[in-house]
Structures are given as structure tokens and as C-alpha cells.
């Protein structure tokens, strides 16, 4: 078996460098720049993912209680009629949201919407 030529090392080196660069880039995208945004009628605030807290947002109908816990956020209680916002469940991924239309409150997770939902074979 003859030895590899210089061009082989260049090609392999360039590709390996590309692999490393792309890996580091696509992994630094994960986990960074995610936060909750809670929006009311005269209210707009950003909250860190992992600081547990309870937020009360004033709306036309009264106070909507939003809870952030373990990196998830949800509407605990709202003075609206149907409680759709409460049943929207917990917001845990970028792009997800829980919205109370009657009381004009939006709970959203912001950040890069990334990753793969699933793989089909």
C-alpha cells in the first residue's frame, strides 16, 4: 500500500476542520439565549429560564398569575371564563406559548428554535 499524498492530508485536514467548526457552532447555538417573555397590556418583561418565580400580570379582567419553575412557565390562574390559557399547559421549548386572550396575557419562550423534532426511517 503506497503512502498518502500531500493533497490527501490537505483534503482530510480541511474536512476535519470543517467538521470541528460546524460542530462547535451548532452546539453553541443550543442552550444559549433562551428566556421567557411575559406580555400584558401595559407590561412586557423578560425572565431567565431557571429562576423560579410567580408573576402577577394586570389585565382588563384582573390579575393573571404566571409561574416559572424548573425552566418551564405556565399560567396558574386567570380571571377569564374559559381558562384556555391554563389548559395550554407548560411552556418548555422555544416558540411555545400560553396565551390568555380575554386578559391579554402572553407567556412565551423566546430563543433559537432549534434541533430536530424526530427522525423517520
Amino acid at each position: 500500500m503506497k503512502k498518502l499524498k500531500i493533497g490527501d492530508y490537505i483534503v482530510i485536514g480541511v474536512v476535519a476542520a470543517l467538521v470541528l467548526m460546524l460542530f462547535s457552532r451548532s452546539f453553541s447555538f443550543n442552550g444559549a439565549e433562551k428566556y421567557f417573555e411575559v406580555t400584558g397590556i401595559d407590561f412586557r418583561e423578560e425572565y431567565a429560564l431557571h429562576e423560579d418565580r410567580v408573576i402577577e400580570v394586570e389585565g382588563p379582567l384582573g390579575l393573571t398569575r404566571v409561574v416559572i419553575e424548573d425552566g418551564r412557565a405556565w399560567v396558574e390562574d386567570s380571571p377569564c371564563r374559559d381558562k384556555v390559557c391554563v389548559r395550554m399547559g407548560k411552556v418548555s421549548r422555544p416558540g411555545e406559548e400560553a396565551i390568555c386572550l380575554p386578559n391579554r396575557v402572553i407567556v412565551q419562550m423566546k430563543g433559537t428554535r432549534g434541533g430536530v423534532d424526530g427522525v423517520s426511517r
Partner: protein, 198 residues
């Protein structure tokens, strides 16, 4: 020295009785084959396509963690074909093995087939360019890696063009390149083994 050129292979073919000619001078031989042995070259192309189909099918049996992961062993045949055939005959080998393998695997005209044809044609172009211009500095291993990377990039570009707005590429690209690197090296060594022993 390094990786023998087309002429040396042509003389190997002569000795093996593929053309029936006695080995003459190196420079002359390739011309003889090119001028008068068209039909035998076609037979040889068909033989290589058959080998490539075998590799494609055999490879599809190997279980893979991700569906895009391929070793690209059929690429080794393309590498070898560059040494013994004219570019347009290599193209024939590439296209016929892609079509025939997809017919056998039942993926003909499906998305997978379109992707593999895209990959095969793009890597053929890049490998042809590299073989013609950089052969002195690059052995089949390097050419194979470049071809594998091209093939994967072209397929991902096609997917992104068809499914607009998918941000999949950012996350998939490093994995694809890693597979291309590994598969390219493996099939490159296989290709070189073939060029030296077949």
C-alpha cells in the same frame, strides 16, 4: 511512485487479456485501447457498474444509526473507473449503478433516489475535476473524501431548496461531514486497493 496514471492501468488491462493486445509501449497502449476497443470498454463499464450495484445493495443491508449515513462503497468503483475508462464512460457507470440499485431496492423515482442521483452526479463532477487536474498531488483517498463531502452537501442543499425554511442544515451538516470524512476515507482506500489489485 504514488498512484499510477491511466497509462499504467491500460497496460495492466492489456496484460490481463481484456483487450487481447500484447503490451506495447506505454504511451501507445492507451491510444490503442481508446481507438479500437470501444466494445470491450463498454463491457468493462458494465462490469464495473455491476460491481458498484453490488456494493450499493450490500451497503444498504448494514444497519445505520442515521438514515443518511452511508459508507459510499460504490464510490470506490467510480474511483477505479476513472483510472481505466473515459470520463463519459465513468458517467455511464455512475448513472446506471444509481438507477439499477434504486430499482433493486425499490426506491426508483422516490425522494431517496433523486437525492442519491444528485449526490452521485455532483460527486462525479468534483472527482472528475480533481482526478484530471490534481492527480499528481492527490491519491484516490483524497479524491474520495472530496467527492463524499460534495455529495452530502449537494443533497442537503437540495433538501433545503425543496423544503424551504428548514433550519435542519445547521444541525445536520457537521454530522454529514463527519460521515463523509469517514466513509470517504474507507471507500478511498477500497478504491485504491481496487486500482492496485483488480
Amino acid at each position: 511512485m504514488g498512484y499510477p496514471g491511466r497509462e499504467e492501468y491500460d497496460s495492466v488491462m492489456v496484460r490481463d487479456g481484456i483487450t487481447g493486445h500484447a503490451p506495447v509501449e506505454k504511451v501507445e497502449i492507451s491510444r490503442i485501447i481508446r481507438a479500437s476497443e470501444g466494445r470491450k470498454r463498454v463491457y468493462y463499464a458494465a462490469f464495473l457498474a455491476t460491481l458498484a450495484i453490488f456494493f450499493s445493495i450490500a451497503e444498504s443491508v448494514i444497519p445505520k444509526p442515521l438514515p443518511w449515513m452511508r459508507l459510499g462503497l460504490a464510490n470506490a468503483i467510480t474511483l477505479y473507473a476513472f483510472c481505466v475508462l473515459r470520463p463519459r464512460e465513468v458517467l455511464l457507470v455512475v448513472i446506471s449503478r444509481t438507477v439499477a440499485a434504486s430499482l433493486l431496492l425499490g426506491t426508483f423515482l422516490s425522494m431517496g433516489f433523486i437525492l442519491s442521483l444528485t449526490g452521485a452526479l455532483s460527486s462525479f463532477s468534483v472527482m472528475l475535476l480533481m482526478y484530471r487536474s490534481l492527480r499528481r498531488w492527490v491519491s484516490p483517498v483524497g479524491i474520495s473524501v472530496a467527492g463524499a463531502v460534495t455529495s452530502n452537501t449537494a443533497q442537503l442543499a437540495l433538501v433545503n431548496a425543496l423544503f424551504v425554511g428548514s433550519r435542519l442544515s445547521l444541525y445536520l451538516l457537521p454530522f454529514l461531514f463527519l460521515f463523509a470524512l469517514v466513509g470517504g476515507i474507507v471507500s478511498g482506500f477500497l478504491g485504491r486497493f481496487l486500482t492496485e489489485n483488480l
